[in-house]
Every structure is written in C-alpha cells, then in structure tokens.
Symmetry: C2
Subunit: 199 residues, 2 copies
C-alpha cells in the first residue's frame, strides 16, 4: 500500500484509465487535489455525481443535455432549414465554439465501418433521413472527419438523399488558418490546389 490508502490507489487507478492520462499524470492530479484542501475535490465529486445522474442524449439530435431536448434544438433563434451532421458530440461542441453555424445538428455517434461491423442502422441513418424529410430541411451539411470512414459515411448519406431536393454539402478542404505549406501533407496541398479560388 504505497500510495496513502486503498481509496487513493483506487482513485489513481480509475483516473489513469481516462483518455490522455496514465498512472503518472493520475498520481500527479490526485496528489494536487489532496494538497489543495479548499474543497476542490469535494466540488469535483459533486459535479461528477450530478453530471452522471442528469446528463443524457437529446432525443432529437443526440447532443448531450440534462433535459429531453438540448439547448440548441429548443432555441427559437436558430435556423430550422439547415442541419449539420457530425460524427460526435465533441465535433458539435467544436463547431459551436467556431460560432459560424446557426442551424440545427444531428450527432451520428460514429461512422460506418466495415471492419467494426457498423452499418447505417447502428448509426440511426434511416432516422436521420426521416428527420430531414419531416422537418423540411433544405440543406444538409456533412461535417464529418476527413478520414476514410468519415468520407464513406458522408457519401452514403449523400447517396441516400440524392433523389430528394435537399442540398447536401460538405466542409471545404484546404490549408488551415495559420498553416505553413512546408508542414502540410501532400493530400491537403493538392486538395487546396484543386479547390483554389479567385482572390
């Protein structure tokens, strides 16, 4: 029992399993929490407990919320005609931080993957297509990762909507802001060159 007490060891072991952490960083975090006695640890425990019991998926879009429908789905100020399809809640949060999109979202919760045997039904793609038709959506923005699985999923959804009047778009590919050509991969450079525009 090196690390103080059984509870401290269990806490370190649990923390070490969190993404991006390991035994070393978990020990460091737990020690810092124990040292700063000003209630930070109790506060963290209370928040974790409250989030664990109250958070669930938005019934409409799949975002994480503490109510039946998330703040974005219930916001009357947002545009109803556009829906942005993302792979993950983290992607939705990233787009919201960008503050560029004022429509609604749909979280797939993954991508199609032959390897992992994830098909359209596992991702609720039929339900998404239904939602698009039911809500009278005019533009579907497929904000999926620029990976093979992400783009496969984008093409599948675009195909499923090909016969409808819905306009299906994807994020632009090119040089990221602040990016230096010398450090970019060949794929990005050729994509940016193909999509060149007049300035």
């Amino acid at each position: 029992m090196t690390e103080g007490s059984d509870d401290i060891q269990a806490l370190i072991a649990l923390m070490a399993r969190l993404p991006g952490l390991g035994p070393r960083s978990a020990r460091r975090i737990v020690l810092s929490l124990i040292r700063k006695r000003a209630g930070q640890m109790t506060q963290l425990a209370q928040l974790l407990d409250s989030v664990a019991t109250s958070s669930r998926e938005c019934l409409t879009c799949g975002n994480i919320t503490d109510r039946d429908e998330c703040a974005i789905c219930t916001d009357p100020a947002r545009a109803n005609g556009e829906i942005c399809v993302v792979q993950d809640v983290a992607d939705l949060w990233a787009l919201e931080r960008g503050n560029a999109f004022r429509g609604r979202y749909h979280v797939l919760g993954g991508t199609l993957s032959a390897l992992d045997e994830i098909g359209p039904d596992d991702l609720g793609i039929p339900a998404l297509i239904d939602r698009i038709h039911r809500d009278g959506i005019s533009e579907v923005i497929l904000a999926l990762n620029a990976t093979v699985d992400g783009q496969t999923t984008a093409h599948y959804i675009a195909d499923a909507l090909a016969d409808s009047k819905v306009s299906v778009t994807g994020l632009a590919q090119g040089v990221p802001i602040g990016g230096e050509l010398d450090y970019l991969d060949d794929g990005t450079i050729s994509a940016a060159l193909r999509a060149r525009r007049r300035i």
Copy 2:
C-alpha cells in the same frame, strides 16, 4: 451554453485547472465519462468524495494516509535507524515504487527558498532534527531534487546535523539507467565522471 449543461461546463472548467490538463483534454475526459455510462463517473465521484474526507497527513512523517500514522510509519518490518528525507509525497511514492529503501521517511513539503520566503521553520526542519535525535536515527538520506533549492535545503539539514553522530548521505548523481551520453547535459556527465568507480 454550448457544452450540454451548466454542470457539464462547470465540470470541464474545474477539470481544466488540474495539473497537466487544459480545456481540450478536460472536454475529452468529461465526454468519455459521459459516454461510458457503466458507473465509472459515479465511482469516480464516490472515490473523490471519500478521499477528500478521509485523507490527511501522517502525524509522524507527513505522508498522506487515512489514519493518524501512515502504513510506512506503523510497519514493524521496516528499519528504524534510517530516515529518508524527501521534498514531497510524490517523491516518497516514487522511492517506494523503486522498492530499494526499507527505512522510514520524512516529507518536508517543499524546499528552502529565499525568493518565496520559505525558511527552515516553514518546512518543520527543527521538528525533523528533534525527531532524528529522539528516534536515535543513525543515517539520514537526503533524497532531495538535484535542483538549486533542493541542494540548498540538503546542505542546510546536513549543517544542522554536523555536530551529531548521525551519518548524513545524499543520492548518487550520475548517468540514469538507459541514458545515452549524447543526450545528457554537461552537468550530469561531469558529475558522473567525478564520481566514477572501478568496475
């Protein structure tokens, strides 16, 4: 309110203040906890709460424990004549993982620092000297960091014990196991050269 709910935002903000974490990694951890609903989050909340209420400093050595005296101080199998002085509980844990020392410890909780106005009384060095004399310690191992502040503290303690019969030692300095000379700093190389030994 981008990130789900007020509680989720507060949790991310609190997590982002932990050492080694930032807003990005905190978001990633919180999302992963919300996704894995199998009680990991509740378990984490319970452990944090239990550690927050039960953990305190060992009255003898300053290690973190859930009792009055830590498991090392109360272990009858450990040698009583040797005391290893460390800066921090994290250092004690590191030495215990190394499994090379079977004596007792003393945690200073910091180093002497003129800049931060930390003197011998702030670190309880008089109490340490008392403990060394009272417990009839024969060897004091100063396992302090090889930094300016750490070595200043080591010299201060060694001076305070100069008139007694206690043998005062420090950790060896040299090439770390697996270390390549090419990547080591000049100070370490010259220390290792000065302390060279017959093989």
